[in-house]
Symmetry: C3
Subunit: 139 residues, 3 copies
């Protein structure tokens, strides 16, 4: 069984933002030499997500509005977590909605995707350097 | 390492609906010959989910009501995504709540499940042909 | 390919609670002998979650309040599922927000984690004995 590991680094300039990392994952899959297996992509930070959806600007704006409705950033006093000195209690909630990780099938050396699937890094507490892990296993 | 791949096709007649696909996944696992490994089941479309929960009619009605409250279909103008000509902005949100995929352990050739676990295809923008991917790896 | 399987048992004394199971998973990983691979940890019950986030008391209180807002326990008549004699319709919803499972990379024999990642069992219908499954595959 082969295995391959890579970290990607980000510093998103806004509090909330989405970055299409599909080309990075495809590049690591090619480097891995894996033809049949599984590819795990996960946020290594607990106020960020990795998820699969559409690369459409309007949808991303909708996600920001919707997540802000479900878990508002302010007033920051509403989150007990923010008594630790942080102001990111909302980001820990938003990340649970969008998820920590995706697992993608690898078939004939490629990400085995439907027509519109793209992998995104989702940032909910940006302006800090953060990481995503890619781990690929298979033959 | 063995690997096995299968697509399932669906055309759910309503906008929102849930289909128990556990027997299909069990059938593919038997066909794979894998005794110990992992089984990935994921929606290949970005307005649909694969999730594990109970096969109980009342619960499924509750999920529909609850998801409609968290991400209402109408008014469709509330979603910028719908300016592309779609009316499924809500479906992209509902899918994030319910998740894209499940990963199930395979032990002694069987899905390693608790007493009530069943795998569902969750459709949030139906009346179109869509696919689920099953990928099984192991020995 | 090696594989390793272990069940963890819980009986959380409240309806809702979070248990840090990271040391248990690390112990099973050591027992498995796997150096490179994937570690699946999932709830075997459909009113519970396994998720990764911060081990911070305030955050956990925030999660309880937030999940109760998104899917209130009472009035229990609001859930058709509760006509079966259960009162846990809300727990089936909360579990979907927090997720069923996590998949963690195994690198050089360790859980390949960012600085604050910890694995939790999330209980939404406690005071019953329930299980988590750990399945590790790799070389």
């Amino acid at each position: 069984m082969k295995s391959h590991r890579k970290e990607l680094w980000f510093e998103v300039p806004e509090r909330m933002g989405f970055v299409n990392i599909t080309p990075d994952v495809e590049g690591e899959l090619a480097a891995s030499g894996v033809q049949e297996g599984l590819c795990l992509v996960n946020a290594m930070h607990i106020t960020a997500s990795v998820f699969i959806n559409d690369d459409e600007r309007g949808l991303h704006a909708d996600y920001k509005r919707w997540l802000e409705e479900l878990a508002p950033h302010a007033p920051i006093e509403n989150y007990l977590h923010n008594r630790t000195g942080e102001d990111n209690g909302d980001a820990h909630c938003k990340r649970q909605i969008m998820g920590r990780e995706v697992v993608v099938a690898v078939t004939e050396g490629r990400l085995d995707f439907g027509p519109w699937e793209q992998i995104f890094y989702g940032e909910f507490d940006g302006r800090r350097r953060k990481r995503v892990l890619i781990k690929i296993i298979g033959d």
